[in-house]
Every structure is written in C-alpha cells, then in structure tokens.
Symmetry: C2
Subunit: 198 residues, 2 copies
C-alpha cells in the first residue's frame, strides 16, 4: 500500500523547514489537507513569490525586493555610522528604539564553528568592504549578547579596528525596569564593572 504521491511529496517537501522531522512533517501535511487548504494554498503562493522576488540588498545584505533596500536608500540617515546586526528582526528591534539613525549591515547569522558557520557564511568580506568605504567612521556591533553573538562581535572588532575604524558595542547592564533580585549575577557583575558616573 502506498500513500498518494502528492501527499508523499508534500510531507517530503515540508522537511525543508528547520526543526521539522518526518513525524511533524506528516502531522503538518495532514492538518493542511484536512483542515486548512486555503492556508496551504496561500503558503504555496507566498513561498513561490518570496523565492522569486526576495533578494539581498547590495549594500546591507538584508532581504529586499529592490536592488538597494529602503534604509540604505534613505539619504536622511547618517552614513558615517554602520550598525552590524545578526538578523533583519534585530534591525527592526533597533529601529523601534528610535535611538539610531545610521546605516546597517545584516550578517544573516552569527559565527558558530560547531554549525560550520564561519566568516564566509556571515559575509565577512562584504562587511569589511562596506565598512571601509571611506565614509563610515564608526561600526556599532549590535550582535546578540549570547556566546555566539559575543564571539562574533569580538572577531569583527579585531578585524575592523585593525583597519582603523572606531568600533563600539551596545552597552550591557541591568535591563530598564529590572529588579536586582531577579537579574542574573553575570549581568549585575557586568553592570558593576561598566558602572558610569551620573
């Protein structure tokens, strides 16, 4: 007995999604075909449309439908500042803070030797070329404060400082609204070391 080929192909194709194994691919396929054909069709079209239209901004590497993204094309921004983030969502978060009006470079990842993500995978050469355009004066490293994000920042800082750029990193410390009792000791230790005059 064999399952219909359209179903087998769908279960198989769903495994392209990260974290989806054979069991959950099957569960997803059954769910879509049984309960949400409209959603399946919409997802199908969205995938094909995105595959066809999404590309990487030639300047900052984020996803865009144009050659150069809206942010990079915005002439009101300060071109002497370049913030380096791991993902487009990190960029969105930074933008929401309204505290930064410079430009960006999106790594689309972070260094992770165990996952075989090295400098090439985070587009290190393109970043160096972008940061040394003669206009950028300061590179703000805004990678995550995880082990991998910190290692990435460290690696980039060495390389960019060696090329004569000013390199900064987002400050670490107690979160706004944070009660010391509930903040982890490592964060408090860092906040103590980085304490500043008021």
């Amino acid at each position: 007995m064999k399952q219909p080929s359209a179903l087998v192909a769908l279960v198989d194709a769903l495994r392209a999604l990260p974290g989806v194994g054979p069991k959950s691919a099957q569960r997803m396929a059954y769910h879509l075909m049984q309960h949400d054909r409209e959603g399946a069709e919409r997802l199908g079209h969205a995938l094909l449309f995105a595959t066809e239209h999404l590309r990487h901004c030639e300047r900052c590497n984020t996803f865009t439908e144009a050659r150069i993204c809206d942010v990079c094309s915005d002439e009101s921004r300060d071109p002497t500042l370049l913030a380096v983030v791991e993902t487009p969502s990190d960029q969105v978060m930074l933008e929401q803070t309204m505290t930064y009006r410079g430009l960006y470079f999106v790594l689309m990842g972070r260094l992770s030797p165990l996952d075989r993500i090295g400098p090439k995978e985070i587009h290190f050469e393109r970043l160096v070329k972008r940061a040394t355009d003669g206009v950028v004066k300061e590179v703000v490293l805004a990678t995550n404060f995880t082990n991998e994000g910190e290692a990435t920042a460290h690696y980039l800082a060495q390389a960019l400082k060696a090329r004569g750029l000013a390199v900064t990193r987002l400050a670490r410390g107690v979160p706004v609204g944070g009660e010391l009792e509930y903040v982890d000791a490592g964060t408090i230790a860092r906040a103590m070391l980085d304490r500043r005059a008021i």
Copy 2:
C-alpha cells in the same frame, strides 16, 4: 521601517502550519530565504499541487488522488471486514503488519471535546453509512490506545453495535519482546485481565 512585503506575507503564511508561532515562522522564513531557496520553491509547488489534487476517498475517507483509493478498489480484499483508524499513517502501520486484508475507514482524527472535535468532525455519519452497507459484518476499531482514541472507540462501539454490527478492538497487552520489568503497570494489569489459554 518595514520589512519587504514578500517576506511579511511568507512569515504570515507559515503560521498556517500547526504549532508554528510568530517567532518560529520568522526563523523558518529567514532560513528558507537565506539557505534553502530550492527547498522553498519545492515546498511551494508541493503545497499547490497537493491542494489541487488531493481529495478524500468516497468510500474510506483517506487522502487519494482518485475518486476511490487503491485499497478500496482492490477486489482481492475482504469486504466484510472494516477497520477504523484515526489517520492514514495508522492505516499504513496496520498494512505493514500483513495481518489484515479487509477494508478501512479513516476518521482523520479522534473525538476530542476540548478541541471541539465531535462526531461530525470524525465523519461519524459517513462511517455508519459505510459500515451498514449490508456487506460489512465486523468493524475492527483500531484507534489509538490513548485516552482520546479509547473514548472514540467506546463511542463508535456503542453506535455500531446498536446497528447490529459485530465490533472488535485490537488486543492490548505486553508488547512483543517486552520485558515485564520495563512495561508500565497499567499495561501489565490489562494483560493479566485479558489473559488467554495457551
């Protein structure tokens, strides 16, 4: 700052997948667009093809690309036996045992009042009609031995016995190869109660 609309639409559409919230939809979209465009395209086509071609067998309710599925069309099968299973995968499992040569009805679910899955959602009326075609003599309830599967079997048994059908259930007991020391007490209790002469 807004993300490109093709990306927003993709993240949104991915949420049709069961168990996928906003964060994992975004992670999936980034992964596909960054690392696996071929997989994204294949998944897109598979979804559209399945949506267009997969339907439910008019006799047994499983997924099929034809009006009547291969199993239901197989005249070498015993039409007096009808096994009721929750999903197409359960049917595949039963087929692999080579111990059953009757026909099937696939509920495409199990009763689950908390999830608002009642008799209508498991196609109860169609099952009754199918089982009372005058040819079927015995209905083998092969729903899972979970709480919901057992409740479903209980509900169906009552309704089908009231219509004069012989109703059976897969035997419960110690799994083949099972060591008593590692089998849960409930299973051993059931095996003791259902013990049989040898």
